[in-house]
Each structure stands twice: as structure tokens, then as C-alpha cells.
């Protein structure tokens, strides 16, 4: 009798567990089924193009893979001085644009966070370039930079300065500064070209509004009591900014840093409109170099390989930022 009851209870337990298992399978299946549209979209529009791009980069590609050449396109890229030059130009662009953009963004956000008249108007004004079409605004800036008809040079000449070849000057800015003194700097010390500086000014004008908006959100999240307490202890001005604002704003700063570095490494539209990578190669960033290799030289496999190299560079930089800058972020 006891053994019969034990048998029954084992059977019930077994049936219960198989029902549970079946329910679990149903739940999981339903989960995957609901995920399926998103997964299919991701596979078709994200994963497949990446692998297809990888395949193209391993080919001598002319409408189709004429010959599978393995890593030849990558070797070619690493042995091509123009590719290294483009990476250097990109790094220079990023190294100047990122601190200028973030620094100015933070400064302006801090000012706009204070109780000043016309605060909303300034916020809108600073944000407007960001929502303006890049191609249109870059074309307008090209006119502003025009050597003998542009507004910027008209102002400069009014004050007795010489008209500058903003977008077509490949000479480094340090060299330009010391040139009137008859000094010739060595190549490495001539500095970024004036054309590059002109592009950075434009980039800052466009993106500073976005940085301000994000910084303002970050500033709004800092509890006011912290400032009140610090003021009671006698802190003010710079001390408050350095010891409270900067550390507590660090998650926002870190987020913007990662985003801006990626953005500068991918920058293309305004550079193409304003300089097309010129004068000579002074503003040929890696994106411009890839575009030219694809659409002018029609080197499909090679440009695909270059794209993966640029992707790897951005990935490494992002990981490095996470490792080094990420440690200094204060989250609470």
C-alpha cells in the first residue's frame, strides 16, 4: 500500500514537472517568437552587412568577388602611407575638437545654469546649429570663410589683419604665426593646418549646443544641498566647481567624451562640403579617405578593409576610454 502511494506520488511529481517543463518551453518559445521580428531585422540589417562587408574586404571586388585575397587589402592599408596620414589627420582633428567642444560646452552650460536674463533664448540659440542641416550650414560657413569675399576676412581686414585662406591653407598655424619673423619650423612643429582649424571652429559651433543641453541636464541632477553645505563651510566659486560640480558631472562628461570621440573619428559631411579633404591632404580624415577610395578609386575591397580598420580604431579608443577615464567617473 505504501509502495503504491509512493509510486502515485512519484507519478504526480513527474507529471507536474513535465507540465512545468512544457510550460517553460512554451514561455521561452513565446519569448523568442516575440523577439523574432527584432532579431530578424538585426540579422538582416546589422549582422549580415557586417559579415558581408568583411567578405568584401577579403576580395578583389569588382561587382562580385573576382578573387579571394584574404588579408591582402588589410596589408595594403597598413603599408599605405596615405592611410596612416589620414589616421593622423583624424587623430589631430579629434585631439583638438574634443577638448575645445567639451570645454566650451561645459563653460557655456555652467553660465546658462545660473539665473541670468534671456536664459531660455540663449539655450535655443546655442542648440539651433545642432538641428540645422549639416550640408546647408557647412555650405554657408564656406562662404563665411571665403578668402576675398567672406565675412570673416572682411572683419579681419577691417582691423588691419591679412585675409586668410581659411579652407585652402595647408600651412600649419604655428608656422603661420612665426612666418612673419622669418622662422621656418620643422615639419612636425608646424601645427595643424589652418583648414583643419577652420573645420574645428565649424564643428564646435555645431555640436556645442548639444553638449550644453546634456551638461545642463547633468547640472540639474546635482543636489543643491551639496552646494549649500559647502557654502556653509566657506567654499565658493572655483572651489565649488572643482569639488562638487566637476566630480558629480563626471558621468555626463564621460558620456559626452565617448560620444564626441566617436563622432570626430566618423566625421564626414561637413569636411566633404567644405574642403573635400584638401588642401592637398590637410583635412583628409579616414572617413574622407575611405569615401575617396570607394567612389573615386573604386577600390571596393580596399575601402571595406579600411572601414573595418577605422571601426577597430574607434572600438579600441572606446575601450581605452572606459578603462582609463571610466575609473574616474563618480556615479554617486
Amino acid at each position: 500500500m505504501a509502495s503504491r502511494s509512493a509510486e502515485l506520488s512519484t507519478m504526480r511529481a513527474s507529471r507536474r514537472s513535465s507540465v512545468q517543463l512544457w510550460r517553460r518551453i512554451q514561455e521561452v518559445s513565446l519569448g523568442y517568437l516575440l523577439l523574432a521580428p527584432a532579431l530578424i531585422l538585426l540579422l538582416v540589417f546589422e549582422v549580415f552587412p557586417i559579415f558581408y562587408g568583411l567578405y568584401i574586404s577579403a576580395c578583389d571586388w569588382r561587382l562580385s568577388c573576382v578573387q579571394f585575397i584574404g588579408i591582402d587589402n588589410y596589408i595594403r592599408a597598413f603599408t599605405e602611407p596615405d592611410m596612416w596620414r589620414s589616421l593622423l589627420v583624424t587623430a589631430t582633428y579629434s585631439a583638438i575638437a574634443v577638448p575645445v567642444q567639451l570645454g566650451l560646452g561645459l563653460l557655456l552650460a555652467y553660465l546658462l545654469f545660473q539665473k541670468i536674463r534671456g536664459q531660455q533664448l540663449f539655450r535655443v540659440l546655442f542648440f539651433m546649429p545642432y538641428i540645422t542641416s549639416t550640408v546647408a550650414s557647412a555650405a554657408i560657413w564656406s562662404f563665411l570663410y571665403n578668402q576675398d569675399k567672406g565675412l570673416i576676412n572682411s572683419i579681419l581686414t577691417q582691423f588691419g589683419f591679412p585675409a586668410l585662406r581659411w579652407l585652402s591653407e595647408k600651412t600649419g598655424v604655428w608656422q603661420m604665426l612665426v612666418q612673419p619673423l622669418g622662422i621656418e619650423l620643422p615639419g612636425w612643429a608646424t601645427g595643424p593646418s589652418l583648414a583643419m582649424i577652420a573645420l574645428i571652429i565649424y564643428t564646435t559651433w555645431v555640436f556645442v549646443g548639444y553638449d550644453i543641453a546634456i551638461f545642463l541636464a547633468g547640472l540639474g541632477n546635482i543636489p543643491g544641498e551639496l552646494y549649500d553645505a559647502a557654502k556653509v563651510d566657506g567654499a565658493s566659486g572655483w572651489t565649488l566647481f572643482r569639488n562638487i560640480t566637476l566630480p558629480l558631472l563626471s558621468p555626463t562628461t564621460f558620456f559626452l567624451l565617448v560620444l564626441t570621440v566617436i563622432g570626430t573619428f566618423k566625421a564626414f559631411n561637413h569636411i566633404w562640403v567644405m574642403t573635400q579633404g584638401g588642401p592637398v591632404d590637410a583635412t583628409t580624415t579616414t572617413s574622407i579617405y575611405i569615401f575617396k577610395q570607394l567612389f573615386q578609386y573604386n577600390r571596393y575591397g580596399y575601402s571595406a578593409a579600411l572601414s573595418f580598420i577605422l571601426f577597430a580604431v574607434i572600438l579600441v579608443l572606446t575601450i581605452a576610454q572606459n578603462r582609463f577615464a571610466g575609473r574616474r567617473v563618480v556615479y554617486d
Binding site: L33, P37, V44, Y145, S168, K292, F295, N298
Partner: protein, 479 residues
């Protein structure tokens, strides 16, 4: 349970639609293989039509009856001229006996834009049926098996050109489309042509003491510098970023861009060095002004405003120059051949129309559209509206007469007529695949360098550029 059934059904529908829309395009059906007309006594030997057709007989065997073929034509002309082109095509659509429908589409604002778009379309296996293309661009498309040889169509008894038609075409225009890289193949057909000419401000030139534009380079440079006054932003010559600008001057100095059999670039010749040295000198002496890349058509606007004396530009821009002058400083202007060393030279350009590999029926339909656009009435209409040169000798008088009747053209109408006589000096740049990046090198690395660096050695610049150009040529040589 019911909800999950609905969900599953919805997903199934999405999947089915997704899969069907992602399915490979239907392969091109083989073309008709019967000969035209009905057999009478003995059945004609069936002709197999290849894609693209390889002989005139194959073209003759294509039957368009009842197929309602439509073709799209990509071009780069502005909206006003696009409308004229479409009006011509509308007329074709109404009158052609084959039921072909042709549609023009603006594929960009420049030939480069069209090239970029077509290259991407070929990669995606979705090219238009026909597009404007320079000879070098057509050669590049050919290397991708993108465009087809038009010789069989041209020679077709049923759809081709008659002997009289062929003779009526300007032979120099026809010759430019014979590919030196793909021997015996015609990768495009001219429906228009233009040439690099020298626009000059006749009133200003007279003020400087010259009744006619200078014919030699030395005098020309003297006049350029005499005219320049940087303080008032007036310059003798507007330098525009375009390799054709360099090529035309090299031709005028007796050089060429590529050798005769198109196997090596040779623009580092003495003619090239002299051209570059002259540009360098003129900029050093502040005689010329650079038109920045971003200032589209800046040379035209500045010319119209009376700010530059000379501009080297396409004859197809005459109507735009006329408009710029009439809206600007309103002076007498004219065109002339560029200065030259020993003998005159004319950089003949203007894209042809290429036909892309689609189906034999569509290829034939595209050819019939090209043939229509090349007819006397069409080429005359197009030339009158755009400033391009007509492609047929029989249309020349009509076009010139129309220009002369219109008072706005003034002396330029006579000069326009002269371009046909200058045709005997015609030269073309480099009708080989991969010339576009070479043009970029010439502009960005060679010419741009001498504008600012007055110590740079033109010969070294050109030697380096030619070495790079020859690498590109090798890469684009048919294998």
C-alpha cells in the same frame, strides 16, 4: 492563448512578406530568338540573342512589339534643361513605333555625382538603362561589365544608323567614344559635345590696350598680371579646381595627358611643367584668384561681376555666362581658343550616353532613345537650349542661326560658330578607366600645391603624380 495565436499569425505574415521581398530578383529572361518578320517559304535560321547582343544580326532579331519597354536616363543637367530633355522624350514616347517609354532623371548636380550614383547602382545590380558618362567613366563601368558595346546597335540594319547618318555626325565627336582600352568597342554615343574655351571680358581687354585676346602663353600671362589689382579684388584669371583646367593648358603647350596607346600617363612632360610653373608664378605675383571648391560656379559669378578678365571653362556654360553678365556688370564678352605654343588645341569634352547591361530589349530601347536624341531636330533643339554643340553637321547652321537671331548673345554667337572650325584641333584627356582619381590627384595634389607653395618644384610634383597615376592605370587595365 488566442492572443498568442494572433501573434504567431502576425509573425508568420511578416516572415512571409520579409522573405518574398528579400528574394533574389527575377533573372533576365532570354530575349526573343526568332528573326523579325514572318517566315514565307523557308524558316529563317533562328538567331540566339546574347546579353548584350554581340552582332548586328542579334540586334535585328530583338522584337520590341508589344513589350512596352521603359527606360530611365540619368543625367546631371539643371531643372530647366531637364524639363527640355523630358519634353523631347515625351515627344519620343508619343511617336516611337515600339511603345518605348523614356524618362529622364536628374542623378546629381555634376558628372561626378552621376558617376558616384551609377557606380553604386552597378554594385547593387540596379543600374539605370542609360546615363551620361565620360569616356573614362564608361571604361570603368565596362571593367565591371556594367556598360555594353554599342557597335552592334549602331550597325544594325533594322535599328542602326544609315551611312548618311553616320557621315552627318561630326567624326571627331564619334571618334572620342572608341575605347582604347577595350579595342573595337564603343562604350558611349555622343548626343552633345562641348569644349574648354577661354571666356574673356572684351571691354576690359580693350581698356588694357588689346583688341583681341592673346594667342600665346607669354602674352596671355602678361595681360593676366596687367589686369590684376588685388586691392580692388580684381584678377586676370580665375583658377577653378578642375583637372580639365590643367589638361587644356597642357594641350595648348603641345603636351598630352596620356600617351597615344593609352598605356601610360605623360603629363609630367615639359608642357605640364610649364603649365604648373605658370600657375605658380601667377599666384606668387597675385595675378590670379583661386575659386574655392565650395564656391560652386564662382568663376562664372565673378566673371559676370567684372571681377576677372579670363576664365577657362566649358563652352556648354555659355548660356550661364550670358546670364551672369546680364545680371552683373553688363559688358561685352566673348570666347576664344586658349593660348597655344606651336599649334592650337581644343580640349573636347562633354559626356556621351552609355547604355547599361540590363536585358537585350531594354538595351535596344535605350539605343533607340539615343538615336532619337541624336537626330537633327533634337540635337539642334538641345544645343540651342543648353549651349552644347550639336552632334550633326546638318544641325550646325540652324543652331548658329538661332544664336545669331538672339540679340543677347552678341559677338559670342559668331564665336560659338567658330568652335566647329576649332574641331580640327580637338584633343581628349584620357578615355581610360580610373581617370577620375587621376583627375583628383592633378587637382588636389598637384595644382593646389603650387597655389600656396611658391618654392615647390613643379617637375617633382608632376613626376610623383604621374607615378601614382600609372599605378591606378595599371589597376584599371583590362585583365
Amino acid at each position: 492563448m488566442r492572443a498568442s495565436k494572433i501573434l504567431i499569425l502576425t509573425l508568420f505574415v511578416i516572415l512571409v512578406f520579409g522573405v518574398t521581398s528579400c528574394a533574389a530578383p527575377e533573372p533576365a529572361k532570354p530575349a526573343a530568338t526568332s528573326a523579325p518578320g514572318q517566315p514565307t517559304t523557308a524558316a529563317p535560321k533562328p538567331v540566339t540573342v546574347n546579353n548584350p547582343p554581340k552582332s548586328a544580326d542579334e540586334v535585328d532579331a530583338i522584337d520590341l512589339a508589344g513589350k512596352k519597354v521603359s527606360v530611365t536616363y540619368w543625367h546631371q543637367r539643371p531643372q530647366v534643361q531637364h524639363e527640355i530633355l523630358q519634353a523631347m522624350l515625351d515627344e519620343f514616347n508619343k511617336t516611337n513605333p515600339y511603345g518605348i517609354t523614356a524618362k529622364a532623371e536628374i542623378a546629381g548636380a555634376s558628372y561626378n555625382d552621376v558617376f558616384t550614383k551609377v557606380s553604386a547602382a552597378i554594385q547593387a545590380s540596379q543600374p539605370p538603362e542609360m546615363s551620361v558618362a565620360y569616356q573614362n567613366q564608361a571604361a570603368f563601368y565596362r571593367s565591371q561589365n556594367g556598360v555594353i558595346d554599342l557597335t552592334p546597335f549602331m550597325k544594325s540594319k533594322k535599328y542602326g544608323l544609315t551611312e548618311a547618318d553616320l557621315k552627318d555626325y561630326f567624326q571627331a565627336f564619334l571618334a572620342t567614344d572608341d575605347s582604347p582600352q577595350y579595342k573595337g568597342e564603343r562604350l558611349g554615343f555622343p548626343t552633345q559635345r562641348s569644349a574648354e574655351v577661354m571666356y574673356y571680358n572684351a571691354d576690359w581687354l580693350k581698356k588694357l590696350g588689346y583688341d583681341a585676346p592673346p594667342k600665346d602663353w607669354k602674352t596671355w600671362e602678361e595681360v593676366v598680371c596687367k589686369a590684376a589689382d588685388p586691392a580692388t579684388k580684381k584678377y586676370g584669371w580665375a583658377f577653378r579646381h578642375d583637372a580639365s583646367n590643367f589638361a587644356s593648358q597642357v594641350f595648348g603647350r603641345g603636351g598630352t595627358i596620356i600617351n597615344a596607346d593609352a598605356t601610360a600617363y605623360v603629363f609630367n612632360s615639359q608642357a605640364g611643367i610649364d603649365t604648373l610653373a605658370a600657375i605658380q608664378r601667377m599666384f606668387k605675383n597675385k595675378c590670379a584668384v583661386e575659386i574655392p571648391v565650395a564656391e560652386r560656379n564662382g568663376e562664372q559669378t565673378r566673371f559676370g561681376n567684372g571681377e576677372v578678365l579670363f576664365v577657362f571653362a566649358s563652352s556648354s556654360g555659355m548660356s550661364f555666362y550670358e546670364e551672369a553678365v546680364s545680371k552683373g556688370a553688363k559688358f561685352k564678352w566673348d570666347i576664344a581658343l586658349l593660348p597655344y605654343a606651336q599649334k592650337p588645341a581644343l580640349n573636347l569634352y562633354g559626356a556621351s550616353v552609355s547604355v547599361f547591361k540590363t536585358t537585350p530589349e531594354k538595351e535596344l530601347a535605350a539605343w533607340i532613345v539615343i538615336k532619337f536624341l541624336g537626330e537633327k531636330a533634337q540635337t539642334a533643339k538641345w544645343a540651342t537650349a543648353t549651349g552644347y554643340l550639336p552632334v550633326r553637321a546638318s544641325a550646325k547652321d540652324e543652331v548658329v542661326a538661332t544664336y545669331k537671331k538672339d540679340p543677347k548673345w552678341g559677338a559670342a554667337a559668331d564665336s560659338y560658330a567658330k568652335i566647329f572650325d576649332w574641331g580640327q584641333y580637338a584633343m581628349i584627356e584620357a578615355p581610360v578607366g580610373g581617370y577620375d582619381p587621376v583627375r583628383d590627384i592633378i587637382d588636389k595634389k598637384v595644382m593646389t600645391s603650387v597655389l600656396t607653395d611658391f618654392n615647390i618644384d613643379p617637375k617633382k610634383l608632376l613626376d610623383d603624380a604621374v607615378a601614382e597615376a600609372n599605378k591606378i592605370l595599371k589597376e584599371n587595365t583590362p585583365k
